[in-house]
């Protein structure tokens, strides 16, 4: 699933087995943590039926058990050790979309969603897509304006706004 057409040219960053072990271990920690929290809350039986922690506690036990099973299964599997989870350049591409997205969300918090989406779309098209600057600016503007019209004006679904919208009285 993960190896694309150029899998041979793309040196492995990490094997599927390592990632699977890490995911399972994290899930196990989460299960222990949540299980403990619910145990503290009361996971037994009150006179009127189960206590609030009862249901989640046993789910945490189930989650923990399944992740332990997952650790065992991943350790036993020879196949997974060979399998490439993600290659170096493929992971680079993932970061190239993920890091700007984090930046976008930060911007939303600071200057509102519409301006942030204009900046994000235009910058992404210019720097990641290597598309013409005027096309990128135009696309970003049209899309943001359209979203503003549809959500804020037409359907009254209000998005976070910043100084620019305030200047126009929204």
């Amino acid at each position: 699933m993960s190896d694309g057409p150029h899998a041979d040219l793309d040196p492995a960053l990490v094997s599927t087995r390592s990632v699977e072990l890490a995911v399972m271990a994290l899930l196990l920690c989460l299960a222990i943590f949540l299980g403990w929290d619910n145990w503290r809350l009361g996971a037994g039986w009150a006179p009127d039926g189960p206590q609030p922690g009862y249901f989640p506690f046993y789910l945490a036990v189930l989650l923990g058990g399944a992740s332990l099973w997952g650790i065992a299964a991943a350790l036993r599997s020879e196949e997974l050790r060979e399998e490439i989870f993600v290659g170096r350049s493929a992971f680079g591409r993932v970061l190239r979309v993920f890091l700007p997205t984090i930046g976008f969300v930060l911007l939303v918090q600071l200057i509102g969603l519409y301006v942030a989406s204009f900046v994000f779309i235009a910058a992404f098209m210019v720097f990641v897509g290597r598309l013409a600057v005027w096309k990128s600016l135009l696309t970003g503007f049209v899309f943001s304006a359209l979203m503003f019209y549809v959500f804020d004006v037409q359907f009254n679904v209000l998005m976070p706004k910043g100084p620019l919208e305030a200047a126009f009285g929204f």
Binding site: L34, V108, F155, M159
Partner: protein
Amino acid sequence: MEALDSLLHGFGVLLTFHNMLLMLVGICLGILVGVLPGLGGPNGVAILLPLTFTMDPTSAIVLLSCIYWGALFGGAITSILFNIPGEAWSVATTFDGYPMAQKGQAAEALTAAFTASFFGSIAAVMLITFLAPWIATFALRFGPPEFFAVYLLTFCSFVGLGKEARHKIVISLALGFLLAAVGMDTVSGELRMTFGSVEMLRGFDFLVAVIGLFGISEILLAMEEHLAFKGQEAKIRLSVVWRTWLTLPRYWVTLLRSSAIGCWLGVTPGGAIAASFMGYNLAKRFSRDGANFGKGKIEGVLAPETAAHAAGTSALLPMLALGIPGSGTAAVLLGGLMVWGLQPGPLLFVEQKDFVWGLIASMYLGNIAGLIIVLATVPLFASVLRVPFATIAPMIIVSCAIGAFAVQNAMFDIWLMLGFGVVGYLFKKTGIPLAPMTLALVLGDKAEDAFRQSMIGLDGGLGIFWSNKLVGTITTLALVMLFWPLIGKLIDLARGSGRHEPAGAAGSGSSRA
């Protein structure tokens, strides 16, 4: 016929200019959602759900369900022209659809796919029309133990029938339940797993989770796999449509078989994905020249498409009648019902006649309109895929952020969506299925309430779940489903033959994809 009367009433509700317009908009949006990578049925509907908050429920469900039909149709376009399944359930369509397009028969393949989809949907809608009211009447007798037993059946069939490794399905389910339990406990009012955080108090909204798990993670995956759309030309001439339609009656067995498989798997939550593979594999086995499957046989397009759509449509049957969705998208629609203040389940048929029958009528009309629209607009939507991915990706991310924020007007939810995106990416790549988690997130609170209400005053005994014939049957059935793989093996052993069960065949089909 009471059902027919109600259906006519439903058409009456539906046939207003406003609703018809919404239907057209919904189908076009749906096709777009189905075509674009990173926007599937579940998160397409989830993102657009906030738009419907101010509509009346009937118009809202018409819009959303038409997005669903559109997405079902749209998935086939990318599979056949670009060899890229827009949706997981159209993977099987690529096996024969893309070879047909390579041979220059793209128009035939597309016509066959859309018509098959239409056929499958209509078969499932007829099932819903006549079966749903009956199930709902039946379900009116349900109390908390019965409902819990049905929930149990839903989750057990996921574990028993799923094609992923069992422990991974269990992880997905348990995690979904745990996330659903975060926040205020509905019975005792105590706070659970909030760790003193105000943001956690609201709990995890499943719409935010769906948008992150399916939308953001899909974008990350698409970027990683370096999607390049090199597609075949798409022009559908009316003469080709006619010619293809004239050949279809020849394949009536395939169509009927796939419809039946789809309806069955759609009602039980294994859903459209399993159905499409099973439809394909069975068609291949029963066909006179099964060896030519995979080289561009029209039957190889008809079988999975019919099954996928029958399943995708009939997934709405348990949602309407019992309040239990049969698929991820149905789960999101169910979330919509709750937002609009409707209580999903059997009472819906009594209290919200307009809504229910309007929805069922919209399934008929939506599919007819969908077939016509999709045949007419294929070139347009195919050209969408030639837009550079660097343009589409940020737009999808922005849409996801808008959808996530609008659910509760919370900035924290956008961050949460990003987090779920990473989780979705890791889970998809390690083979942990996402659908069980979505369902558990939606149904978690209801399942827990049903459990605790059944248990009130009891001292930890589970006898209540076998206290009468009805609940006992459902609970036993749930356990049978849970241990189905073991039971299947035992049956095979007893027969002493190496015959493969269909579920196994479906599994092998998916690993090849």
